[in-house]
């Protein structure tokens, strides 16, 4: 039996180069003439907005796509990588944005999958499991190899992926947005492991769109924008502002000026609200909260801890199993979405392409989706008044800086940021008293994010009560007047803006009790 893991790894990749890489998809030039290089012992960050082409570039390195032009050189010699199998053979591993694990299999089975067994045709998952334990101990990555993967938390699943890559002897490891699903503590742990790997001589490619992470972990950073390479620079000489400008292509603002909070009357209150999630389990457990006019309350938490259900029960989209909800003191516990809307509650849904817009409809149609029956937009209350709808649409396009060829363009042809601006335009045009914003800038470019953030702050100053549900801690920190933390369907902590402490926030998100001063 070979024992690949007890010896220190001697990575076979000293240098990997990608030269003049081009990749087209129907209607999109996803990657355009990109050069990229990574060496043993370094962490090279690949930075860019959503849709910049980062994943596509790396999928070509891993054999998932074939480049239309360009070549890949390993230690100076050209290689042809036609499938993930080829990539693995060359010592290349990849941790995907969406994990590539088979949920019904154990960690050990997932690692054994596609590998030769030491027992020939018969599986040797017990031996694989034992070796995984040793490897896990060496890198201080806690994982139980014998539990089906679906029972593991996302952080653990990621550790399984990392261990699998190490087990397979990956000398070059690509990590595609690995921190997106992690708590701040888990990010620290991940960074520690990555540093240990580079010390062992691995070459790492770290994909991210988060500036502070890139600054914290990498030695060099390559910025992509619209499929093109902007530049490769040493991280030591970079700043957040400079990187953001390279990403967006124009100066950006990272911090907003904000007025002091003018908290008014309570608009929305939840009293011990419980609800089931899609799988029929308890998704929300006795959640109580109060939202006042003129404040933004941020709801932080790792994905899947009840945030989605919270937004849905408030919007009337999910039945509750206990507790009560009031808007302006009026009970709405059993009200339907239209009635809740009528009380001045607007909702920016998390899945904007599913719940926010109708993909096949035009910009104008989507804009009047809820108010198509309003006297403003009808003739004699029956027929749609297309002239009025067109006017309203042109106004919204202008006011919200929506980039679209026109009001009659199908919404699916717009970018994520512009679709989100449209949803925002529609929801704000009704002058809501309460706004539930769920993941308002997920998948949205920095320019549009900045715009949406300013708009939300302006709404707050106008007196709207805003509940901001977000998995993006930076967004929570930038906008919230108070922060609530959710864990396993409960609100496990509340922190006022002035007292925010990242350590404490992270601990709450991870479900541990707040860190005491000094530990």
């Amino acid at each position: 039996m070979t024992q690949p893991i007890n010896q220190p790894v001697t990575p076979a990749i000293q240098q990997l180069q990608m030269q003049g890489i081009v990749k087209r998809f129907p209607g999109v030039l996803a990657v355009n003439q990109v050069d990229f290089e990574v060496r043993a012992g370094e962490i090279h960050a690949l930075l860019g907005e959503n849709g910049a082409g980062k994943s596509t570039l790396m999928k070509m390195l891993y054999g998932l796509y074939q480049p239309d032009a360009g070549r890949i050189l390993l230690n100076g010699a050209p290689v042809n990588i036609r499938s993930p199998h080829d990539a693995i053979q060359q010592g290349i591993g990849m941790i995907h944005q969406h994990f590539m694990l088979v949920p019904s299999l154990t960690a050990a089975e997932n690692v054994a999958l596609g590998m030769r067994s030491s027992r020939g045709l018969v599986l040797d998952t017990d031996r694989v499991g034992a070796q995984l334990r040793e490897l896990a101990a060496r890198y201080n990555l806690k994982v139980d190899p014998d539990i089906p993967v679906w029972q593991l938390a996302v952080g653990e699943q990621q550790r399984v992926e990392i261990l699998r890559a190490l087990y397979r002897g990956a000398a070059l490891l690509i990590l595609d947005e690995p921190t997106a699903v992690l708590t701040p503590q888990e990010v620290d742990d991940l960074f520690r492991v990555l540093r240990q790997m580079t010390a062992d001589g691995h070459a790492l490619i770290f994909i991210s769109h988060k500036l502070h992470e890139v600054l914290a972990i990498s030695q060099r950073v390559t910025v992509l924008r619209d499929g093109q390479k902007v530049a490769t620079i040493p991280t030591a000489g970079a700043t957040r502002l400079k990187l953001a400008e390279m990403m967006v292509g124009r100066p950006v603002v990272l911090e907003y000026e904000r007025q002091p909070v003018q908290r008014g009357a309570a608009r929305l209150s939840l009293h011990e609200v419980s609800a089931r999630n899609d799988r029929g389990h308890e998704g929300l457990r006795q959640v109580s909260l109060r939202l006042c006019s003129g404040e933004i309350v941020g709801v932080a938490g790792v994905s899947g801890n009840g945030q989605r259900e919270l937004a849905q029960v408030i919007a009337g989209l999910r039945p509750i199993t206990g507790g009560s909800i009031q808007v302006d003191g009026r009970p709405v516990t059993t009200a339907d979405p239209a009635a809740i809307n009528a009380l001045g509650v607007s909702h920016i849904p998390e899945e904007r392409m599913v719940d926010g817009v109708i993909k096949e409809f035009t910009v104008a149609e989507n804009l009047v989706l809820q108010e198509h029956g309003h006297p403003r937009f009808t003739r004699a209350g029956l027929f749609m008044n297309f002239r009025r709808i067109g006017e309203a649409c042109r106004e919204a396009i202008k006011a919200y800086e929506i980039k679209t060829p026109g009001g009659d363009t199908p919404i699916k042809n717009l970018s994520g940021g512009n679709i989100q601006k449209l949803v925002l335009a529609r929801e704000l045009s009704r002058r809501p008293q309460v706004l539930i914003a769920a993941q308002p800038t997920r998948g949205v470019d920095i320019g549009a994010t900045e715009y949406i953030h300013r708009r939300l702050l302006a709404e707050r100053d106008r007196g709207t009560a805003i509940l901001l549900i977000s998995e993006d801690l930076d967004e929570i920190l930038a906008l919230s007047d108070r922060i609530l933390v959710m864990y396993e369907g409960r609100i496990v902590g509340e922190i006022p803006r002035e007292q925010v402490n990242i350590q404490q926030l992270g601990a709450l998100m991870a479900g541990s009790s707040p860190a005491r001063p000094g530990d």
Partner: protein, 308 residues
């Protein structure tokens, strides 16, 4: 009356009649575990049944008959794989196409090449020495006086279970049926695995057909299987994609078959239509209960596309 129905020979028939269900059901299990729904099983069974019968009739050799069936099964299995894996056709519809092809083709060939009903010698029953004459509870008659294909089918159950759960191939099959993207990313050739399982499914279906035409009934006629292949597909759901589940389901149905035959043999006054419908009604009832919370392969019927 109960003693008249539940005789040792009824239990022996139960074992014997379970054979085609087991063979076809095991093949379908492998196909579905890898994510391909093969609805054409009944058509392939008919083709296997015909070629086994025709070869045995001409050469006088049941062994050559089985070999012919295996060959036809392999060809039809590869054709099915080409349609559903390479061409990525809608699996429900293309399966029905293969069924109709097998149904029509086997009948046409029967009329062209044979014409009138004939019978073959087929496989003889093998009496296992020492075991076949156990009198106690009729054990000898029930378990140890069957043709070779019966023994083969029953031995394939533990073997299939072992392959699926304890070999590298079985792991690849399960992974490909649950998350083909992940399997691909780990260097597994998804297309090759699916070709292998779907071809195996064809071979097993044809063998199941042969077990009818040259071992169990020793005749061939139009639509010999009368939908047995569809029951085999249902059995896979019933058995929750596990070989021992197939065994349980196959025995349940063959028992109903055997009792039904016995009832008409002893001339009980039960309308024969009821007896004929019974297995199908039981299938539906069983499926309603069995298909709850299953370990269904999540990628079942979904063609694989690399890179999302």
């Amino acid at each position: 009356m109960i003693e008249q129905i539940l005789t040792a020979s009824v239990f022996a028939s139960t074992i014997r009649l379970a054979t085609p269900y087991i063979l076809a059901g095991l093949g379908e299990t492998f196909s579905q575990r890898s994510g391909v729904l093969n609805l054409g099983v009944d058509g392939v069974m008919l083709m296997g049944a015909f070629f086994a019968f025709y070869t045995a009739l001409i050469t006088g050799s049941a062994v050559l008959g089985v070999i012919a069936a295996l060959g036809v099964g392999l060809i039809l299995g590869l054709a099915t794989a080409f349609i559903s894996v390479t061409l990525k056709a809608e699996q429900g519809i293309s399966g029905i196409g293969i069924y109709l092809f097998g149904l029509g083709m086997s009948e046409l060939l029967f009329q062209q090449w044979i014409g009138t009903p004939k019978s073959v010698t087929g496989f003889p029953d093998i009496f296992i020495p020492g075991l076949s004459d156990i009198e106690f509870l009729g054990i000898g008659e029930i378990f140890f006086q069957h043709n070779i294909l019966v023994y083969v089918a029953f031995l394939l159950i533990p073997l299939s279970s072992f392959v699926l759960n304890h070999t590298t191939l079985g792991l690849m099959i399960r992974a490909v049926g649950q998350n083909p993207q992940a399997a691909d990313a780990m260097g597994v050739n998804v297309t090759r695995v699916r070709y292998a399982t779907v071809a195996f499914c064809g071979v097993m279906a044809a063998l199941a057909g042969a077990s009818l035409s040259i071992a169990l009934l020793k005749v061939f006629q139009q639509n010999l299987t009368s939908g047995l292949g569809f029951i085999a597909v249902a059995l896979v759901y019933f058995g929750r994609w596990r070989p021992y589940g197939i065994l349980a389901g196959a025995l349940l149905f063959s028992f109903v078959n055997a009792v039904q035959l016995q009832i008409s043999a002893i001339g009980l006054d039960v309308p024969s239509e009821f007896a004929v419908m019974a297995p199908y009604v039981i299938t539906i009832i069983a499926l309603v209960f069995a298909s709850k919370q299953t370990e269904k392969p999540t990628a079942l019927t979904r063609p694989f596309e690399r890179g999302e």
